[in-house]
Amino acid sequence: MTHPVAELLPFYANGTLDAADRARVEDELATCPSCAAELREIEALGAALHERAAAAPPPPAHILDDALARISATPLASASARLRSAWWGTPARYATAAALVLGLSAAGLAAWHVREADVAAPGRVSGDTQAVTVYRATEPPLQQKIMVQHVTKNRDLAQPAVPPETVAKQHRLARKARLALLVRDVEVALRDARGVVGAAGGDVTALNDATPQTPNTAHGATLDVEVPAAKLDPTLDRLAQLGAVQNKAIDAEDLDASIVDEEARLRNLRREETDLRALMDRGGRVTDILTVQQNLSDVRGQIEQLDAQHQSDLNRVATSTISLALTEDRPNAAPAKPGPTARIDGAWHAGVAALVDTITTLLAAIAWSVAYAPVPLGIAGVAYTAIRLLGKRRATAP
């Protein structure tokens, strides 16, 4: 190519050059016959291409139908965009937004108080107490993968997105309690404990009763039970009456966030499954059907997995577990035969305990003496004064 300007000719021909470039090309065309010939050629080709394009048949109507069906099938993928546009679209909707903001603020404030109360409540163990009003925009992960036609063509697209779920956060606690009791008779206590649990509608899930082999070993047993969540506190109270409480603890895990999340995901997956089933019923090309079938089985698998998790979480909230440890109250009996290390350890602890005991007693005695010091001092003072007076009287006596 001899003229750099010749490269601009296609864009001169289609009329998209700016004024400066157009002037350059026109100058060149005026003086260069080969450029002018080139332009004629380009114009002829351009016209042919244009004519060919104009003669092309219109696109089949089913392309639009297909696109419409597919955009109907993406309900949540662009939920946030839809929310934005739906809310800011018309002034009337400002009110909705304002009301929502106010509502959220109020809920937040209320939640704050709830949280304060929670923290203040004694004995209440709460896992997480984060923000209490939860916005959940769940994206269906599979939606992107499915590139097949969708049936729900008549679903109203213009309707605003599903409003965000405003969930006033509740505590859904999976509670676990541990209770250690010192009892007079382990067998009796075990029987009573099972009675208490049975009366509360609970079940024993594990029992470990170690009957002592030697007379000097204390009898111990552990019992794991499950009781309805609402019955946990009364059951614990009744169990505590069976002996002397050595240790009592309650752990709680807040499963609310995961349960809400599971429910939202399940809803989406079930909706997707319904749509896919409708697609299957409609039939079509074999490859499409196979794709739908594959997606359907993927979705089903996910639903089952999620459902199992969901049920398990719900069950953990609905029932609380108690681990009960019972030990026979025999001060002289060794709980088990200690090994050499344990014995040295025991001796050390006994020594330290004895030392601490002695020092405590000594300190107590000193404190006691200091506290009572005024009495003997007073007596001593009175006695001293009396003796002095008596002595003086004898000395002055004739």
Partner: protein, 183 residues
């Protein structure tokens, strides 16, 4: 349809307006379909891709930044989808000889048939070009985009587009001349 009208439509599509979406398809669907069909040379695939492009328009309408004309943005999507499909499916470029023999099967002595024959020959010649050359010719001569706009659409420097347009045209001319000789 002016760019202003396109922008209005796109704003309505961003608000999930289905009627606006159908209007947009009526205005640009044919051009997009023609463009991707010429790029991929596969009717069925071109229909799928056109549908893909429209779905992408629906999804991304709210994200249109307004830095270019709507048509430039739209053809950018179409070009991307078509080139992507070509890479994935490795649609072969039809050998020139095969296309020329098909093209010379045109029938009838009347005017319309002759024009149809010319069009077939042109189609065959286009088919023998690389997708990049086909794209730049279509975008320049059929869709009337500027050098800068084509650079945006195909994602290449403006200078490359200029050279590519020049060589694409030269190649097309040579192929057509060769076909003329074999007649």
């Amino acid at each position: 349809m002016t760019d202003g009208e396109d922008r209005t439509l796109l704003a309505e599509i961003a608000q999930r307006d289905r009627v606006a979406f159908e209007t947009f398809f009526a205005a640009h669907g044919a051009a997009v379909h023609r463009f991707v069909r010429d790029l991929v040379h596969d009717g069925g695939l071109a229909e799928e891709l056109t549908s893909d492009v429209m779905v992408q328009v629906w999804r991304s309408a709210a994200k249109f930044a307004g830095r270019s004309r709507v048509r430039t943005w739209l053809f950018g999507i179409a070009h991307h989808k078509a080139i992507d499909a070509l890479r994935r499916r490795r649609v072969p470029t039809v050998p020139l000889d095969a296309m020329l023999s098909i093209a010379s099967d045109a029938e009838g002595p009347d005017d319309a048939a002759l024009r149809a024959e010319d069009r077939d020959r042109l189609a065959a010649a286009l088919a023998s070009l690389s997708p990049e050359h086909r794209a730049v010719l279509e975008l320049t001569f059929v869709e009337g985009f500027s050098q800068k706009e084509i650079a945006d659409i195909v994602g290449a420097p403006a200078a490359t587009v200029k050279t590519r347009a020049f060589y694409a045209k030269a190649r097309l001319r040579d192929v057509l001349a060769a076909a003329e000789q074999t007649r």
